[in-house]
């Protein structure tokens, strides 16, 4: 397997009800207090990194796909956006909120907003960070009431596809054998 092939958030379209719970969980997970009431009572801004949309009667959350050869990393003039082994990250210290990454992101997954760096409030680009420092993993995955979102390794998608196609192949072979026996 290649050196970098990190996990990503996969959405089961049949399960998503469009309830926005993942947005709420995302916003809360990225506050300092870490709780809804704590954030509201502490006047902390709530800002989700994902966005639930509806297209042709299908609802789904959208967020950064953690591109491995990410255009946002390529265009960043300050080196704020970078790729780790597991995800595509933004360092708010270095970010100047120039929006170049927003322009080149094919998924519209990056926004700029106020962020807290130490005691300073500044503008910076924010995007899904897979809740990389959160012990329970991504908050959206945990919060989704229908379990529509999963943190998935590319290899799992690959294996699922291999199994599904192999099953179909075996069925076809079996069917052919049956047909061949008939006069």
């Amino acid at each position: 397997m290649s050196e970098i092939s990190g996990p990503f958030l996969m959405v089961n379209l049949e399960r998503c009800e469009g309830c926005h719970t993942c947005e709420m969980a995302c916003a809360i997970a990225h506050t300092r207090s870490g709780t809804l009431f704590g954030a509201v009572l502490g006047s902390e801004a709530l800002f989700p990194r994902n966005r639930v949309i509806k297209i042709a009667e299908v609802r789904l959350p959208t967020q950064c796909r953690q591109c491995e050869d990410a255009p946002c990393v390529k265009v960043c003039p300050t080196g704020a956006t970078f790729r780790t082994k597991t995800y595509t990250a933004v360092n708010p210290n270095l970010c100047i909120a120039c929006k170049l990454c927003m322009m080149v992101c094919p998924f519209g997954a990056i926004q700029t907003t106020n962020v807290q760096v130490g005691e300073r409030t500044k503008r910076a680009a924010v995007k899904c960070d897979l809740c990389i420092d959160r012990p329970g993993g991504p908050a959206c995955v945990e919060a989704c009431p229908t379990k529509a979102i999963t943190l998935t390794q590319p290899i799992e998608v690959m294996e699922a596809a291999i199994h599904a196609s192999s099953e179909r192949y075996l069925e076809a072979v079996k069917a052919q054998a049956t047909l061949a026996k008939q006069p």
């Binding site: 719970t21 709420m24 969980a25 509201v40 801004a45 709530l46 966005r51 907003t113």
Partner: protein
């Protein structure tokens, strides 16, 4: 000594509850706590009060997010409008529950007066006469039935009244009545305010958050000084005004060798007759025939409080213990009427021989046998219900019986009249005790249980902190039972109080926490506040008093908290109400209200910090009255 998992210990402070939760786990039964866990995380939009389903352009959800997402519903309602509308609807629902209870009691009194009810009589003629005098109803030369009929009809008329002020609002200090009039929030009619609440919160009607909240206050006042007060006063007339008496609480009051009946719900109309029927010689003989030593009637929730304070009937526990009570396997029948009855009970009863019997035409439950109750045949129906419980004793499976050996004695029944009597005939000794700082003030700690809070921890911790600081506590509802379980409702409980309060309790032989009844009996607390304020010639908002609902969950509690605030009482909630999504509404409730009605809400989930807030408020009010802080 059995040890329980940390998970179980974290759910409650009550050993009987620990034991039953362990038993439930071992036998594969689920409880309200399991369902609460399965529901996590709960919807943040709902928690902030930001969703609206009031019309079919929606459902709408306002974004609490910085910069992104819709800030108005489809109709244009802002977060504050949506939060205010929803709060008013919660108040209206809570007020409806209390007031409909009051209407039922007025109905029972009317039928009793007309000789149409079976099993009832006017038990407290003194209170009837006092009410008649208050209502300007003639007493001289009339029978108690004639007087009772007029009192019941006047009480009935309060529900449909269109103009003027509800009768009992005149019990409030004159300053308070004048304030309500000037704000145009004097409740006119009990049903009218609820109907107007529903009208105003309909799409496209009242869209001014302040105007909405003001009507919410009026609606809550129609409960506290209306429906709830009618329920309390007329229940006293019918069943007797409570006097101090001893009883016991917790699951250990269930008996292994008797027919166990639990009355659950809120209204005393049926539970009183169940108590009477359980003493019927024929039914007792039947119980003996089946090998039971007797018939043990117990209560839960507020109908339990009603028969506890009038008949000394023991209580098996508070709201969160209702499922556990059935899981003891020793309950022949749980008889329910209205309010706070979990729809999960039928399925649990189905695992045992227990019969869940619903009785109100308003409230049916899955898995329940419906034996509809009507006062016209009250005695007969009550006997039928008790008989079906006795008949069921045969089917108890001894192998399934698991009753925790946990119970506590308590002293209950402190109606306003009983408090005055304990003080020697007037409230003066209480006022003097406050003035000379033997006690600092009075706090009403009331309200439900809620699995969001460790069961009874919020209640008991706050109450213990308050009495330690020489603040006398009065209690109703599920808080009362929580306090009873740890011995706070015993005169000996004074040992847990500060020196001043301890001295007062010992001198009078009373507990440091006074049980004033069920949740409609919060009206007794209003009457007490009004009487003290009137004696001092001040308003309720000037008194060193406060209220708290550490574990509240019901819409009734929202109405109670709101009428407390509208009556001038600082009220601390232990559970955050769904309003934080509306910053202006939140600000109004926790700050602005004080400048308008003299009372406001506080929100504090840590009971120690809540005690600090209450103490600071009481100290400030003492200073305001020129008393030593």
């Amino acid at each position: 000594m059995t040890t329980y998992s940390q998970k179980i210990l974290d759910k409650s402070i009550d050993p009987a509850t620990h034991e039953m939760l362990d038993h439930a786990q071992k036998t594969g039964m689920t409880t309200v706590w399991d369902r609460f866990e399965a529901m996590q995380p709960q919807c943040g939009f709902g928690e902030l009060g930001l969703c609206c389903r009031n019309c079919a352009m929606g459902p709408c959800r306002i974004s609490p997010f910085d910069e992104v997402g819709p800030k108005q519903g489809v109709c244009g309602a802002t977060a504050d409008i949506i939060v205010a509308r929803f709060l008013v609807r919660m108040i209206a629902a809570g007020a409806s529950a209390h007031s409909d209870h009051g209407r039922d009691i007025a109905h029972t009194l009317l039928l009793t007066a007309q000789g149409k009810a079976s099993g009832y009589q006017v038990k407290d003629e003194k209170k009837l006469d006092a009410l008649a005098a208050e209502f300007a109803i003639a007493i001289e030369g009339r029978t108690k039935e004639e007087i009772a009929e007029d009192v019941a009809k006047l009480a009935y008329s309060q529900f449909g009244q269109q103009e003027g002020a509800l009768q009992f609002t005149h019990r409030a200090p004159e300053k308070r009545q004048a304030l309500w009039n000037s704000l145009n929030i004097t409740p006119r009619g009990i049903d009218r305010e609820v109907v107007e609440s529903m009208h105003r919160t309909h799409i496209g009607v009242d869209n001014d958050p302040v105007n909405l909240i003001l009507h919410g206050l009026r609606t809550s006042l129609s409960d506290g000084w209306g429906g709830s007060m009618i329920a309390t006063e007329l229940s006293d007339v019918l069943f007797g005004t409570p006097t101090p008496k001893r009883s016991a609480v917790n699951l250990g009051v269930l008996k292994t060798d008797e027919v166990n009946i639990i009355v659950h719900g809120h209204e005393p109309t049926l539970s009183e007759l169940i108590v009477a029927a359980s003493q019927d010689p024929e039914l007792l003989a039947l119980a003996k025939k089946y090998g039971a030593k007797g018939i043990n009637v117990t209560g839960i929730c507020c109908t339990g409080n009603e028969v506890l304070m009038r008949q000394g009937i023991p209580s098996v526990g508070n709201f969160l213990q209702q499922e556990l009570a059935i899981m003891t396997g020793a309950v022949e029948a749980m008889i329910v009427d209205v309010q706070c009855i979990l729809p999960s009970l039928g399925a649990i009863a189905g695992c045992f021989h227990t019969k869940l019997i619903s009785t109100s035409p308003k409230a049916k439950f899955p898995g329940a046998t419906h034996m509809e109750f009507h006062e016209e045949h009250g005695n007969e129906i009550a006997k039928d219900i008790v008989r079906s419980a006795v008949e069921n004793y045969r089917f108890r499976k001894p192998g399934q019986v698991h009753i925790p050996d946990v119970k506590m004695e308590c002293m209950v029944g402190f109606s306003v009249e009983a408090i005055v009597a304990a003080l020697g005939g007037s409230l003066t000794p209480l006022i003097e005790a406050i003035a000379k700082k033997q006690i600092r003030g009075i706090a009403a700690v009331v309200g439900c249980n809620n699995p969001r809070v460790k069961h009874d921890y919020g209640h008991v911790t706050l109450v213990k902190e308050l009495i330690k600081r020489d603040i006398l506590v009065v209690t109703t509802g599920c808080n009362a039972i929580a306090c009873a379980k740890v011995g706070l409702l015993l005169p000996e409980g004074a040992e847990m109080a500060g020196e001043g309060l301890k001295g007062l309790c010992k001198a009078l032989g009373i507990p440091p926490v006074l049980h004033m009844g069920s949740c409609v009996d919060n009206s007794r607390i209003l009457v007490t506040c009004a009487a003290v304020a009137n004696a001092l010639g001040v308003d309720i908002s000037d008194l060193p008093v406060a209220a708290a609902a550490p574990e509240w969950m019901s819409e009734k509690a929202v109405s109670i908290g709101t009428y407390a605030v509208a009556s001038g009482v600082y009220t601390v909630l232990g559970v955050v109400p769904p309003v934080l999504g509306g910053p202006a509404v939140t600000d109004l409730l926790v700050k602005g209200a004080e400048g308008v009605v003299g009372g406001k809400f506080g929100v504090e989930s840590d009971p120690f910090k809540a005690a600090d807030l209450i103490e600071a408020h009481i100290t400030a009010k003492r200073v305001g009255l020129g008393l030593p802080a």
